[in-house]
């Protein structure tokens, strides 16, 4: 296995007697906060839930960091905690969200996309409103996937993980990664059919 790029920082955290939100742990946090937040947001589909899930993720990392034994990459471990925290939170909140006004408010927030886009790679050939509408439709299609297919889609297309990294994160075999991704594509193909037609042919 290739050396873990975070190993030095992790060892420094593990050797700190009282690990607080400063020093090495703060550096780790800064390194992973955007990644964790994006995974949590795309899985939960809600900025509020994404914040809660991210907080829970880093709380868990802080608690369990001393027990991390480098049996996998640190990034895979972090993603795994984030995915599980997000799925659990979404499951807990599902009935409440469907029954309450929060669902309406969350929908408005995700449509509004309050947060800054810092990725300069994204091209914007269309107007902001059209782009926001398109993103909302894509996010809704992702929300309709099962938790397993949603996780693999996010890790592959939002976080750009390789098949090996996804397998390590989700603790599944390479074959399972491929078959789940194929099923995710199949489901998204169906869900996004109108969008595909409009975007590529319209």
């Amino acid at each position: 296995m290739r050396p873990d790029p975070d190993e030095e920082l992790i060892r420094a955290c593990q050797q700190t007697v009282e690990l607080g939100f400063d020093g090495s742990f703060n550096t780790l946090y800064e390194r992973y906060k955007d990644r964790v937040y994006n995974v949590c947001y795309r899985i939960t589909g809600s900025p509020t839930d994404a914040l809660d899930a991210s907080q829970e993720t880093f709380g868990t990392i802080h608690r369990k960091l001393r027990d991390f034994r480098f049996q996998s990459r640190f990034s895979s471990w972090v993603y795994r905690i984030a995915v599980n925290a997000s799925i659990d939170l979404k499951r807990r909140n599902r009935s409440r969200r469907l029954a309450s006004l929060d669902s309406v408010r969350d929908g408005e927030d995700s449509d509004g996309l309050r947060f800054d886009v810092q990725d300069e790679r994204i091209e914007m050939p269309m107007s902001s409103a059209s782009r926001r509408e398109l993103e909302s439709e894509i996010q809704r299609a992702i929300d309709r996937l099962s938790p397993k297919l949603r996780s693999i889609t996010i890790l592959r297309y939002i976080e750009s993980l390789s098949y090996d990294e996804i397998a390590e994160t989700l603790e599944i075999s390479l074959g399972t990664v491929k078959s789940r991704l194929a099923r995710a594509h199949e489901a998204l193909d169906r869900e996004l059919s109108p969008v595909l037609h409009k975007h590529y042919l319209g």
Binding site: F21, F25, D34, Y37, L113, F115, I138, Y157
Partner: protein, 243 residues
Amino acid sequence: MTSPDCEAFRHSALDALESSGGHPAGCDACAAWLARQRQVAGLLGMLDRFSAPEGLDRAVAQAVAANQRRAQAFATLEPRRAPNVLRRLVQEDVEAGASAVVARSLAGLERQTAPPELALLVAERIESDRRQRSQGVAPGARPFRDGRPSPLVLVGRGTTPLRIGLVAAAALLIFSLPPLMRSFKGQAEGLRSLPEPRVQLAMVTDIDRMDPLARALAAGVSGGVVDISRGSQAAPRALEGQR
């Protein structure tokens, strides 16, 4: 339905979304599928990546502080040694097996108090029995629907109805057994090894001395004349009989 070759190609093609080998060149379905999947991937790639909001910094700082407080609290706890008696208790459980678990579970069951409705039901039953007795019907006997007592019910006190009912039950037993046994004899050979039944004819005046099966039979045959809830003090007199 896709062929195994198409499935294998499609699984591997998603990795790089490039054609793997010459399969798409020879398969229009897979070529079309590949083009479609590239479009799906293109749409997914358009999703924005966000910066974590400022609120996350504060939230994580709070979570970390909470973890530290918890760790400090746990550090002050002194480890406790298991008491010596635990070894004996565990050994007893292991030797007793499942019965120990069952006994403990049963001991923990809550004793129920009788519901208030029970008193009402009992009072109603006592009143119904009293009414039936005043009409000359044995308590518990089922009258006709219009309330007339069943013709099988005999009026009276004492042991006469009891004797009649018992003899009837015994007679039923005696006369029904031979035909049953003859039919058994005509069947498979294995039945021949069954011991010949012995029939004991007993005349008793004390309900309590009767076999429970005979008691229930007598109550049913007599139409409730034989009151199995009451008994007399007379001693039984048994007649031995063999088939």
